[in-house]
Each structure stands twice: as structure tokens, then as C-alpha cells.
């Protein structure tokens, strides 16, 4: 089993639209995992069957037993996040600021604080219209720990791929360079970078590639909206050449993409010329996986 992780650094480069198209090309050969749990959108294109939502317990939250609290303020002293204060003789927790470190509970002389585990999100493992399985999740509103939920989604997807004897896991990653991205990259056999020819696209690609390179992961690129700006396209290509990152496809800047999206379709299904380029890219992915020679 091999794992392909699609990321972009910058949001809005077409990462999810590309992932959905590749998922359809892979069909039953891939288990799809939506690891952009903060703003998961892949289900809008791949129409997973409804399934039970499994709760996911992430971090903890301080909960005060107001009867037992003496209002001594030891908790307030200990908290580095200004999340617990004594008001009218009783400790009060701000749930949004509470980091879930549990320090307050440990220093409370009355044992009046419980460090309570919270459900931070829900995940589902179900069939989708690719013919294969899809694992996706939604993070609770305002919840912390998206990195842990990402790790859970990936673990479930790998398990499902083993159970189905599926060759691939295809992961839609998160934007940025922080914990959800780091978490989506772990164990990748190939990182697929979806970018666009803009100063912001290039800047964010360079930052996220720094992260990919630090984990020594093989990468390849799809340049979306390639004809948006010739000069920036050249700069992106220069960067790819300098880093030895193969370019698998260039996709044009076209209103066919939002039009397809509005119809709940992928660009693969909407436009013949886009479809041809995506097929070539998918062929390129297969070749890269062979060359990378990493065994599961």
C-alpha cells in the first residue's frame, strides 16, 4: 500500500478539486482520506454514503466543581493562558482560552477541578462514488487538536486500505505549514504539491516544500491556473527545476472549474481537455511512486 498526500501551502489553489479528480481516476484502487478537517470539502464532490459518525476525543478542558472550590486562586496563579479566574469566590473557566494542560487541576488543594476529556470532532468511514472507501471528519466548531483528528483519519484510512487490500491511500491535506499539515505528511510515499503561478502561491509553495524536504519525502507538482501569469509560471518552473521536483501537469485557468463545482462535479468529469491533462498527471503519479521505490 502506498500513500499519496496532496497539499498546497496556500489555500484555494485547487487542491481539493484535483484530489477529487484523481480519486475518480483511482476508483476502487484507492481509499480516500480528507485530512483538511478544519474545512473539509471533499465530500461535496465525492458524495460519501451516510454512515454513523464516530466521536473523536481530543484534548481536555478544566471543569470546576463549584461546591468544592474554596476560591483560593491557586489555579489562576498556575494558568499561563489566563483561562481560569476566581470570580465571587469561585474559579471560572473560559472554555475558549483553556488549553487543556490540566495544570490547574494538579495544583488545586481541594481537588475541585477535573481535567475532562472532550469530543473534538466526528469521523466517518464509508463508500463514496469513486467505488472505493472514503474516510472524512469534521472538527467540532471552535475545537482544538485538528492534528490529532488528522492522525485518526489517516489511521482509519490505512486500516481500511489493508482490509480491502487496496493499493493506495489518497490524502487531501490541509493548507499552511502547522500541525495539521505535519500530521497529514507523516508516512507519505509521495507528496503532490498543487500550486498556482502567483507570488503568494510560489511563496507558500516554497515554505511548505521546506517542510516536505525536512522529512525527506519525494514530491511532485501540478501547476493549476498555469496560464494566469507567464512570468510567475516561469518562476514556479524555475523553483521546481532547482529543487528537482517533477511537474506532472499544467492545468489552465478556466471558469470550467467553478462551473463543475457548482454542479457537484469534478473537473475531470466536466471538461475534456482538463480530463486529458489529469489522466497524464495520474500516470505521472504512478511513475513517481514506482521510482520512489519506497515499500510500504
Amino acid at each position: 500500500m502506498k500513500e499519496i498526500v496532496v497539499i498546497s501551502g496556500k489555500g484555494g489553489t485547487g487542491k481539493t478539486s484535483v484530489t477529487a479528480s484523481l480519486a475518480l481516476l483511482a476508483g476502487r484502487d484507492a481509499v480516500v482520506a480528507d485530512c483538511d478537517v478544519d474545512a473539509a470539502d471533499l465530500h461535496l464532490l465525492l458524495a460519501p454514503d451516510p454512515d454513523v459518525e464516530h466521536p473523536f476525543a481530543g484534548g481536555t478542558l478544566a471543569v470546576v466543581d463549584t461546591q468544592a472550590c474554596s476560591g483560593c486562586g491557586a489555579c489562576e496563579q498556575a494558568c499561563r493562558f489566563e483561562a481560569i479566574v476566581v470570580e465571587n469566590g469561585v474559579a471560572v473557566v473560559d472554555d475558549v482560552d483553556c488549553e487543556g494542560c490540566g495544570y490547574c487541576a494538579r495544583v488545586c488543594p481541594e481537588d475541585a477541578i477535573v481535567d475532562e476529556r472532550q469530543t473534538v470532532g466526528y469521523w466517518q468511514n464509508t463508500s463514496c462514488r469513486t467505488g472505493g472507501a472514503m474516510v472524512h471528519a469534521r472538527l467540532g466548531i471552535g475545537a482544538d487538536n485538528s492534528g490529532k483528528l488528522v492522525a485518526k483519519v489517516k489511521a482509519v484510512a490505512r486500516e481500511e486500505a489493508r482490509a480491502r487490500n487496496t493499493a493506495l491511500v489518497l490524502v487531501d491535506g490541509a493548507p499552511g505549514v502547522g500541525c495539521p499539515v505535519v500530521s497529514s505528511l507523516s508516512g507519505a510515499d509521495l507528496v503532490l504539491l498543487v500550486t498556482e503561478p502567483s507570488v503568494a502561491g510560489l511563496h507558500d509553495l516554497q515554505r511548505v516544500y521546506q517542510l516536505v524536504a525536512s522529512f525527506k519525502l519525494p514530491a511532485a507538482c501540478i501547476l493549476n491556473k498555469a496560464d494566469l501569469h507567464e512570468g510567475l509560471r516561469d518562476q514556479v518552473l524555475e523553483f521546481l527545476t532547482a529543487e528537482g521536483i517533477p511537474l506532472l501537469a499544467e492545468l489552465p485557468y478556466t471558469t470550467a472549474v467553478p462551473a463543475a463545482l457548482a454542479a457537484g462535479k469534478t473537473m475531470l468529469e466536466w471538461d475534456i481537455s482538463l480530463a486529458a491533462r489529469l489522466r497524464a498527471a495520474w500516470q505521472g503519479v504512478a511513475e513517481q511512486l514506482q521510482q520512489s521505490g519506497r515499500t510500504p
Binding site: T16, D38, A39, V96, Y103, G176, G178, L261
Partner: protein, 283 residues
């Protein structure tokens, strides 16, 4: 007045809106543009000024002192984040997992885990006339954006006068970094696009802002593409659509090369109207 520009979905035009608002408001008002998308900060690709201040921002993490340690294992027990591992003859600290709560350090009976500063990013403060440009940039490899966002907001509290119109360019998504960036804003401008992705992520962002009790305005970017579902959603939820920015390849082209697309008349008109609404609110 603090105005956060947020989006749920990435790439909807959040940075375009915040930079252009700053440029439109700055001639007549004191304005600060603060880039809180610390994982991928982009505002200073579009606007720059004379550097006023630059600092390396540190977070505090425990450093193990072998000579003080009695190997009691207390540190591992009190860490909720799995950042401290107490082995038979060594304590390992995983700084990237550390939330800086100080529990292991202060509860260590032997003082063997003093907190020491570790660089997590860089804050830059530049000025262009009356416009302050503040950006924080997370070091690649650091996983937690929230401490850097909080530090940047503390810096803004200390250095930016209260009467300034402060525009906060928030990170995408709905989780902890967005909450840190928006939770004390007087007004949140949610930038979206008229597609199913835009709608879905807008609805998540709206729920998040309601949880935080923030007042909201919606900006529909790339208006004319996609469908009407975003507009219908806003009507249903009683959300004011304060601007509709027409879809334009010319705007995208300006943006691609790092120019503010204010020379495009229909773009300038839409953003100008939004700037007036915001200036009205702040006075």
C-alpha cells in the same frame, strides 16, 4: 477598531481584501494591517514600507538538566500533550508538542526542567506613511501557530493606538489559530466565493464566529461565478453581504504578480464601498 478578515476556506481572497482595504482607508485614517496568517503570511508580498522593528519571537519550552534530575517521572505524568518522555536514565522533551503550560517545569521537585526560550518565528513592523504593516511568520518546522498569533496581538495592543483601524488578516479554517486571531475583533469580515466549497466553509466560519459572539459581515468574491446558494444562505441567516466583488481575470492577473488590483474599476468600486462601510462603523 479591530476588523478581522477571515474566510473558512483558503484562497477566497482574504489577503486581497485586507490589503486593499488598508490601502483604501490609509490616506484618511490611521490604519494598521496585521498579518496573523503566520503559517503562510502573504500581506507583505503586496505592501511594504520602511522597517521600524523586527524581533525574533520565542516560546518557552522545558530544557532537561541531567545533573538535577532524580528520574521520578513526575514530568511525564503531568504533561497532557505527550511532550515529555521520562526514560530510565534520560528525559526527552519534544518541543514541537509543548504548549508552554509550565506544569512539568514548575511541578518538578528537583528543578530539573527550567523553561528556556526557543525561537518560533519573526515579527516585522514596517511603516508606509500613516500605514503600519505588521507581520508574523512562523518558523517552518514549528507546528503551533497560536502562541505566535497571541504574541502578535499583544504587540499590537502595546504599539498600535486604539483609534487606529486595525485590519487583522486571519488564517483560513475554523480551528484554534482562527479563534486566536478573531476572538477579540470588533467586527469579522468573512470573505467567501459563490461555490459549494465557499458556502460550506462560510457556514462553518459563521458558526464559529457565533460561538465567539462576533459581529459579522460577508464579502462575496468572484461574484458571477458558480451559483446563488451563498446569497440564499446569507439571506436565511440574516447576514449582511457588504460587498460583491465581480469575477475578473484581470484582478487575478494583478494579484498573481503581487499588485493590488485597485486599478480595475469594478474591483475598486466594490472595495471602496466596503471601505466606506467600515470607516463609518469605526467612527
Amino acid at each position: 477598531m479591530r476588523i478581522a478578515v477571515a474566510s473558512g476556506k483558503g484562497g477566497t481572497g482574504k489577503t486581497t481584501v485586507s490589503t486593499c482595504l488598508a490601502a483604501l482607508l490609509a490616506p484618511e485614517h490611521p490604519v494598521a494591517l496585521v498579518d496573523l496568517d503566520v503559517e503562510e503570511p502573504n500581506t507583505q508580498l503586496f505592501m511594504d514600507g520602511e522597517l521600524l522593528h523586527r524581533e525574533v519571537v520565542h516560546k518557552h519550552v522545558p530544557m532537561w538538566r541531567a545533573d538535577q534530575c532524580a528520574h521520578c517521572g513526575q514530568c511525564q505524568q503531568v504533561c497532557n500533550f505527550g511532550a515529555v518522555l521520562s526514560l530510565p536514565d534520560e528525559v526527552m522533551v519534544f518541543a514541537e508538542l509543548c504548549h508552554g503550560c509550565y506544569a512539568c517545569s514548575e511541578l518538578c521537585p528537583h528543578g530539573a526542567l527550567p523553561m528556556e526560550p526557543q525561537p518560533m518565528g519573526v515579527l516585522r513592523h514596517a511603516v508606509d506613511g500613516e500605514l503600519a504593516l505588521i507581520e508574523s511568520r512562523l518558523e517552518v518546522g514549528q507546528e503551533q501557530a497560536v502562541p505566535l498569533i497571541k504574541h502578535t496581538l499583544d504587540y499590537v495592543d502595546a504599539r498600535v493606538p486604539a483609534e487606529t483601524i486595525t485590519i487583522l488578516d486571519a488564517p483560513p479554517g475554523t480551528s484554534c489559530p482562527v479563534i486566536a486571531a478573531t476572538r477579540h475583533a470588533d467586527l469579522v469580515v468573512l470573505v467567501t466565493e459563490p461555490t459549494p466549497f465557499g458556502l460550506h466553509d462560510l457556514s462553518l466560519a459563521v458558526e464559529t464566529m457565533r460561538l465567539l459572539g462576533r459581529e459579522m459581515l460577508v464579502v462575496v468574491n468572484r461574484h458571477g461565478l458558480g451559483d446563488d446558494a451563498v446569497e440564499e444562505y446569507c439571506r436565511r441567516e440574516g447576514l449582511l453581504v457588504a460587498a460583491r466583488i465581480p469575477h475578473s481575470r484581470e484582478v487575478a492577473h494583478h494579484y498573481a504578480q503581487g499588485h493590488l488590483p485597485l486599478a480595475v474599476p469594478e474591483f475598486r468600486e466594490a472595495l471602496g464601498a466596503l471601505a466606506e462601510v467600515l470607516a463609518g462603523r469605526s467612527s
